[in-house]
């Protein structure tokens, strides 16, 4: 896609105040994205005009806040093709996954059951399952990847069997950017009677996601990685699962009737939102969704994709090894160099105002399995430009000159 024609990246960048205030080249969008002015303003407006707690106030501010909070739920639900009642606001993607792990799966496992995780999962979609498996004395099976670091469906089909209770899989790997064939994994898992939790932390800006089409049992993601504020995330769950899922946090707002000796709890999604929720962040997230819808997920994805392709060429040319060659890839690339440590590369680029990530990307065992301790990673979003990739190229050459 040509930047000059359909996609006016300068206009997009103008929506993001940080590029004015703190000029830099930001290539760490998989960690968190920057926020458009409309999202920041929604938060400011909330505190400056609408501030009140939700669920409880009879007075105008209170009921207006509750209404805004409810509307945000509908906005987010619409965005992924879900019903509002299927959307739980959490503290983040990590929190969403833990809720499924300890609110549902922990109560459902019996001897001989297994949980399946992809080898490349983020710690957030691995460690909770380890813990649940440990507590229930069941096996956590790791589905390893092909040499291209993609998922082999034939292997997955034999791996996920009638003993599998849950498959935990990322939509898009935050390490390699691989967009896994989750539709097929879900279809097969359901045939085997297993539920599937899709970690969509890296998904929502790289393609339009519809939970009905996907058929996922659960979908977890964070607001801050999709132009929204820090401090809130989402768990989508199919209603029949949410009904069975138990609360793991107890307190106000999630109850139906409390007596001294026992309590009964509200229906989903309320049952899972104990206490005062991150109201401003949730309202900000809805604004982020509005912004994404206005620009268009496809346009964002196409632009990011074009940058990813260009970056991949550049990295290869400069002698860096790009991690994996999956069939489909989101806007994320990990890469390494036999004689340049990723941290040094990140520091040297930082001195030129280029922010990239270096480390294990919260996937320690995956990197270790690949014989790596860390990689460098670039990830792109709607506001990145081809000129920034040229600067990256200059930075890489400078680093090589310095370190080799």
């Amino acid at each position: 896609m040509s930047e000059n024609l359909v996609w006016d990246v300068d206009r997009i960048r103008a929506d993001f105040p940080i590029f004015d205030r703190t000029p830099h080249i930001y290539l760490d969008n998989a960690a968190t994205t920057h926020k458009p002015a409309s999202v920041i303003k929604a938060i400011t407006d909330f505190y400056e005009m609408h501030n009140a707690n939700v669920h409880r106030g009879i007075y105008h501010l209170g009921s207006a806040a509750s209404q805004r909070y409810a509307e945000a739920r509908s906005t987010v639900a619409d965005f992924i093709g879900a019903q509002a009642s299927e959307i739980i606001f959490t503290a983040g993607c990590t929190d969403s996954i833990n809720l499924v792990a300890f609110g549902l799966i922990d109560n459902k496992l019996s001897e001989g059951d297994t949980i399946v995780c992809l080898a490349s999962e983020h710690h957030a979609n691995l460690v909770p399952w380890q813990e649940v498996a440990r507590r229930n004395n069941v096996q956590l099976k790791i589905l390893h990847l092909t040499d291209l670091l993609d998922l082999d469906l034939t292997q997955a089909y034999s791996f996920i069997d009638r003993n599998t209770k849950l498959v935990a899989i990322a939509h898009t790997s935050n390490v390699t950017g691989a967009r896994y064939p989750i539709e097929e994994v879900i279809a097969h898992s359901h045939k085997m009677g297993a539920m599937v939790l899709v970690d969509a932390a890296q998904a929502l800006l790289s393609e339009s996601v519809n939970v009905q089409d996907l058929g996922a049992d659960f979908l977890a993601f964070s607001g801050h990685k999709m132009l929204g504020p820090t401090g809130c995330g989402v768990l989508y769950g199919r209603p029949e699962h949410l009904e069975q899922m138990q609360a793991i946090r107890f307190g106000g707002d999630m109850i139906r009737r409390v007596e001294y000796d026992q309590s009964t709890f509200a229906a989903a999604p309320r049952r899972f939102e104990a206490g005062t929720p991150p109201i401003a962040a949730v309202i900000g997230l809805a604004k982020a969704v509005d912004y994404i819808n206005r620009v268009g997920v496809k346009a964002i994805a196409d632009h990011s994709k074009a940058l990813t392709v260009a970056a991949q060429e550049l990295l290869t040319e400069e002698g860096f090894a790009v991690l994996g060659r999956p069939k489909h890839r989101g806007p994320i690339l990990s890469f390494s160099h036999s004689r340049i440590h990723p941290h040094d590369l990140a520091s040297i680029l930082d001195e030129r105002g280029i922010a990239i990530r270096a480390g294990h990307h919260c996937a320690q065992p995956f990197l270790k399995h690949l014989g790596l301790m860390a990689t460098a990673r670039v990830s792109f979003s709607l506001y990145n430009t081809h000129a920034e990739i040229e600067s990256l190229g200059e930075g890489l050459r400078h680093a090589k000159a310095l370190l080799l």
């Binding site: 669920h55 409880r56 009879i58 009921s63 509750s66 209404q67 139906r256 009737r257 509200a266």
Partner: protein, 136 residues
């Protein structure tokens, strides 16, 4: 004058109609709002598919009490189908865009301006709606 506290609502809240317990009723419904604590029971018998001896008691605000009182007054003695139709029209008016022919009930239309109080208006009606929907 207050919009929400229409004279008719004040009258029904001060002197609610059909406001009495009936432990031997065939059907006893809970109309409970866990958020605010309003807590009514609705008593009725189903006789020849009609809602007979409809009454209520319990505790709640002027608005929920007046609304329950009007429910008992307006739907008592009605056939199941007719009652269900009327109460759905009422719920639509309060939460959506419907209008009401019954002048007394139309008084509750202004609840739309008070989103924090809609549950007070609908509490008893929703309980009866749930029952009638489940036993249609």
């Amino acid at each position: 004058m207050s919009d929400l506290y229409h004279p008719l609502i004040l009258k029904h809240s001060r002197e609610p109609l059909h406001f009495h317990e009936r432990k031997d009723a065939e059907i006893i419904l809970d109309a409970y709002n866990p958020i605010c604590g309003d807590d009514y029971k609705i008593y009725l018998d189903l006789v020849d598919d009609h809602l007979e001896a409809l009454s209520f008691d319990g505790y709640g605000c002027a608005v929920s009490k007046a609304s329950a009182s009007l429910l008992a007054q307006k739907l008592g003695g009605k056939s199941r189908g007719e009652a269900h139709k009327q109460l759905q029209r009422f719920l639509e008016m309060v939460t959506g865009s419907g209008t009401m022919i019954d002048e007394d009930l139309a008084v509750f239309a202004m609840a739309k301006k008070y989103p924090g109080r809609i549950t007070c208006v609908t509490l008893a009606w929703q309980a009866l709606d749930e029952f009638l929907s489940q036993h249609a």
